[in-house]
Amino acid sequence: MSKELVQLDQVIIRFAGDSGDGMQLTGDRFTSTTAAFGNDLSTLPDFPAEIRAPAGTLAGVSAFQLHFADHDIMTPGDSAHVLVAMNPAALKANLKDVRRGGDIIANTDEFTKRNLEKVGYHASPLDDGSLDSYKVHPIALTSLTVEALKDFDLGKKEAERAKNMFALGLLSWLYHRPSDGTIEWLTGKFGKKPEILRANIAAFEAGWSYGETTEEFSVQYEVRPAAQPPGTYRNISGNLALAYGLIAAGQCAQLPVYLGSYPITPASDILHELSKHKRFGVTTFQAEDEIAGVSAAIGAAYGGALAVTTTSGPGLALKSEAIGLAVSLELPLIIVDVQRGGPSTGLPTKTEQSDLLQAMFGRNGEAPVPIVAPRSPSDCFDSAIEAARIATTYRTPVFILSDGYLANGSEPWLVPDADELPEFPVTFATELNHTDADGKQEYWPYKRDPHTLARPWAVPGTPGLEHRIGGLEKADGSGHIAYDAANHDLMVRSRAAKVAGIDIPLLDVDDPDADATLLMLGWGSTYGPIGVACKHARRAGLKVAQAHLRYLNPFPANTGEVLKRYQHVIVPEMNLGQLAMLLRAKYLVDVISFTQVRGMPFKSDELLQAIEDVLANGADK
């Protein structure tokens, strides 16, 4: 039976089910197929902190949203065209994010009286007319899967577990996705368990056939590949890109990479990934706590490694004192903070940008640390290399502020040529660098480079350059303990001047006709939603400029000038206005802070609304 094939320019699908239903896996797999097909895409996993919350409850709902298109896209999308709801909880938790007229594929096997009551449905929403404004497809996904697998040597539970592959097969048919990649992937995953492998393939194919042969779906959709610059692509998440960036940075700096870390959501994947790459000379150390993680990294940095520590907000709080030590020692150190909702334990699996001020100021004393913030999952790769460049050139700790959305979200990545990466090989000090009053040659560990203000880096094992460093204030030059006031004033100002003088590019402004009155200025992972909002605003005839800060410390030299160029500056942030506070304090510009802390990325519609509101009321501002 041949069905009508409808062309779409973009689709947003959300898979939702219980934590144990395999929704992240299903979403990942659909993403890989879609990436390989050539669509541009962006993903948003959304899962609870509990590994297995009680089955069927709202707390246990795990979802994965995928936006794919035949054109360049920047976000996982505001609301879904299709929701796959594996149970009533998944429907209830996600219905608000499905657009009216959208498709809902519901697993009717789970819409039992008990499951409905668990989430407060008195009658099944599939039958009571409450979903009349959606296209509902009630399908018994579990029993269809079990039926399809009845000839396999599997228990009922095992057979039921394959229902996510049935759903994947159905969606793959519906959106005309090639199935070879999935079968290849299943073979890789279950190659050693032939019965499970065959069952999963059978469930996938049963889902596919269900779409093709039943009358539930009258049309099939197709989203053509997007036009992208030529090259080799892969799909990549932020955490993976960051891990690869750190490995690459080791090669750029020609230093062995050393990671001292303690597991914490959502940063642990970087530790997991780096631990796999020992053949690149990468050492990973799972320490007894966050403090030991960063302290060990400082020890490795003293020994001449490209030292890294990875964490999230609560871990960063614990590392504060040691980061201050790294500031005082003036040793290179990369601190990766994959931000999550706070304060305290907060929302471990949800995204937020609320550690900016902690990174900026969260240490005792005047302890400036450069901050780099990636704007997209793939940008995490470049940010890691850039952080390493700054850390090694200026002998300073450097923050990379990623967040939960970047960490777990993914997008296609034009794979860079490994031979074309920047090179910044480190030269360790090997010679005496100072002559004392008696004409004696000495080594001065705090004799600064006049251009970068960086101090020399002499590693243990270098004969003649033995020296002691520490957290006590040091005499300018000699590095000996020094308590005198004038020297302390000089050292505090020298460390500040060194960071303030870091060579970074100017802030780039996207103002197509150079006539905008409003600037949207963001940082970090809000780049995508802000970009979409600006695009839509321009389509509606509004004059909007966009700029995005990759460097939060120091700010690009032209930041003040850019801010003053626009009548209105909106600063959207997933915190309560931390960047806005810094900008106001430094540049005396009354930026408009637009904030949200819902654990999820901005929706571009909300940002568009903010633009419209400001432009409509702008005269009163």
Partner: protein, 350 residues
Amino acid sequence: MSTDSIPALSLVPKTEGKQSAKDFKTDQEVRWCPGCGDYAILAAVQGFLPELGLARENIVFISGIGCSSRFPYYMNTYGMHSIHGRAPAVASGLAMSRPDLSVWVITGDGDALSIGGNHLIHALRRNVNIKILLFNNRIYGLTKGQYSPTSEVGKITKSTPMGSLDYPFNPVSVALGAEATFVARTVDSDRKHLTEVLRAAAEHEGTALVEIYQNCNIFNDGAWEPLKDSDVRDDVTIRLAHGQPIRFGANGEKGVARMPDGTVQVVTVEEVGAQNLLIHDAHAHDPGVAFALSRLSDPVSLQDTPIGIFRDVPRASYDRLLREQLAEARETQGVGDLGALLRGNDTWTV
């Protein structure tokens, strides 16, 4: 002494010339209080290091915070005065990434057992190739005289005017409980014993903990006096020597024996017979007897305090195993190819 055959030091480059204690002194003025026990320890370390014949630039001293932690400034080697309690972690990171270094940690009873307790126990169980010298003076000196985690119960200090309430740690017992492979105790004023213990620690592969009873003559003067006073010390101190019967007392009249109920106790030789004294076995795999020995001393009177090497057993160091994994990964998978890594297995071409 040749260190080539000692696994713990075989990767550390040797000096070509002859060294003396003077080579290990810096031009920095030593700023401990006059009469502080730290001076004796500094002199012992500077006097003993030339014996190892290691290249001076390949020796690193890392400390935390406290009086003892100023130590690295006075050693003409590489050194870092880090932050409170974290020296074992800093040193672990350095030792893991640099097998060619001899890495020493200088810490005190507050630094190692209070704020840094977690790092200490994990360093010990992990067995990274670092040597920890724990200067125990049973008081906080640098903060001017509060009780420490090794102070006896009821200690009257600035922060405990009615006497301290918490029960003290016995650092040797803690270390043995933390799976340490080398645990020893010595006294600042006994240069010969201190040197012997330091030498054994240096030769040990993995983490070595050396507790050094050190006198703070300003805030806790005489804390270890019974072990130093020539009139009583032989009666109080049990000197442990591997392979020797554990016997002490001014006339060797006392000893340590295993009792019929399984406990290890101080006895008189006359009572049990010299042939029934316990033979000290520092290499025993089971730490049980070493632990029992660590419990003999009275925390207040110090009666029956063992000094010497409680435990010295072989176990591959963490950093050696780590290097072996890195080498194995390269052997079995080949040296990493960055281009291949970045491309991965699932690419498409536009």
